[in-house]
């Protein structure tokens, strides 16, 4: 990938503009942060300190889900899975949240791209709306594939529809869209006619991403995927977020760091493990 990212990050106390419970345990928060809104790239993330306590001790990383440069806000989408995400869900508009960002290496939108296929597994949808906007702005065609366990776990479908892109949905229990895995409907799509330069942009859990790696290879496409690992810092100082490099050349490092080399990697670049 050639695009270089502006690595200038900052620490900001950002006013919370809104916190919405989208469904079940899924929340969307809008934060006032002109600096981050200005410079963030799709696929980059912010690292939030959810309270001023020692529990949880660390910041919690979240993809930037949408941003508005003019109004100066960013949004993050999350699901309650533990203490940090639970505390976040209890935050209220008007409070301040300490935000470190923008962080990481995001998705690259190539000039020669013709069709971008965005594939989100579960909460992996989080970085895709922002990515979608930027690809559309670049005048490219976008198709979106979203998968979830069940309807309440499926977030942001209306947001994509509003952007005027085609959205294909699969749920494991068939409560909405195709019954089954999103990768299955994706494969069906890929079997049909495709333009020359197709890119797969994906984000989701490890099992899903491993499937995406296979698909990227078997259809011989370019794929970029945003991965998740435990993170100690989010900006390269703890060395706690390694991801295995697939075929390290002699002398090359065995690991890359998710927080600065990623979280977006080429699908052929890394080996994911749980």
């Amino acid at each position: 990938m050639t695009e270089t990212f502006d690595r200038r990050k900052g620490i900001y106390d950002c006013p919370i503009l809104s916190v919405k419970n989208l469904s079940g345990a899924i929340y969307l928060m809008r934060l006032h942060s002109p600096a981050i809104a200005q410079s963030v790239h799709p696929g980059q993330f912010v690292n939030l300190k959810v309270n001023d306590e020692f529990i949880p001790l660390l910041r919690k990383p979240f993809s930037v889900c949408r941003r508005d440069q003019r109004e100066g806000w960013i949004e993050v989408l999350w699901k309650i899975v533990g203490k940090g995400t639970e505390i976040l869900a209890g935050c209220r508009a008007g409070e301040l949240l300490n935000v470190l960002g923008p962080l990481g290496h995001g998705y690259t939108i190539r000039p020669e791209l013709e069709l971008a296929i965005l594939v989100g597994g579960g909460l992996g949808v989080a970085p895709l709306p922002f990515l979608c906007e930027e690809i559309l702005k670049a005048g490219k065609k976008v198709e979106v594939f979203l998968g979830a366990k069940s309807e309440p776990e499926l977030a942001l479908v209306p947001e994509f529809i509003e952007m005027g892109v085609e959205v294909f949905v699969a749920t494991e229990d068939g409560s909405v869209g195709n019954a089954g895995l999103v990768t299955e409907i994706l494969i069906e799509r890929l079997k049909r006619s495709l333009p020359q330069r197709v890119n797969l942009f994906s984000c989701g859990p490890t099992g899903f991403l491993n499937r995406m790696i296979q698909i990227t290879e078997s259809f011989n496409l370019e794929g970029q995927m945003a991965i998740e690992t435990m993170m100690g810092c989010g900006f390269g100082i703890c060395v706690g977020c390694p991801v295995r490099v697939r075929d390290p050349r002699p002398g090359e490092r065995l690991y890359k760091l998710t927080c600065i080399d990623g979280p977006v990697f080429d699908a052929r670049e890394v080996i994911l493990s749980d």
């Binding site: 993170m231 900006f235 706690g240």
Partner: protein, 303 residues
Amino acid sequence: MIDLSIEIGGLRLKNPVLAASGTFGYGQESADLVDLNALGGIVTKSVTLQPRDGNPPPRIVELPAGLLNSIGLANVGVEGFIKEKLPFLRSVKTAVIVNVAGSAGDEFLKVVERLENEEGIHAYELNFSCPNVKEGGLEFSQEPRVTSQVTSLVRNATRRPLIVKLTPNVTRISDIARAAKESGADAVSLINTLVGMAVDIQTRRPKINTVTGGYSGPAIKPVALAKVYEVAKHVDIPIIGIGGIMNGRDALEFILTGAAAIQVGTANFIDPRTGEKIIAELMDFCQRNGLQSIRELVGSLRI
């Protein structure tokens, strides 16, 4: 104007607040967030003779008020350090302390020898908490004998101030500090991480790849203070206090207990500006208590 400067075994620092090894990279990673020139010093990530990839993931797990890690000394190696990292560090107006690690005494010596003629290094800190391959994986500073041996070895190879960083995982840390002193260390820094462990009861697996790892953060501060107290009481050597320091109050606890300087570790992951904030808080504390110099506080605990 309050004087925050201190001198530790020949090393002059503009203030007693250092960034701890392995928690601040090589300085550059935080350069856009932190005024590096404000810090008393930066201790680098441990440097070994060869580059090391480090341990497989998971390397980190968060615990209540603490952090467990098993990074495995992932680093660029001494040549990589000199080529890629040192030039930037030279440009920073702060003390640069290179933390050196190895799996045998020899390796410490070779790294220091390689660095000795490089400019822009103000002191060495020997990471004696890494496993000694010869001694069945016991940490170097778990044995006074090994501590002496390797300290002497390195002492003979450098004229720079030599700091020995001690593991807390010992019966009597003062014995180790004494061994370091008698073998030529100019100062000791303590503590490195406690050995800790966490288990995922669902998968029935350890939460980090190496089963046990290094425990750091606020949870270890009481242990660190007790270790600093023990060394201060029994050995006449300058002490750099480390362990769970999150703010100026924590730093003052260490200074009162006998630390001439302190290092900020895990706190940097949450806020890399912690060091700068501590400096301001120390200044403020001295002001409010009518002190001319931070040195008046060192070891001034009332027992």
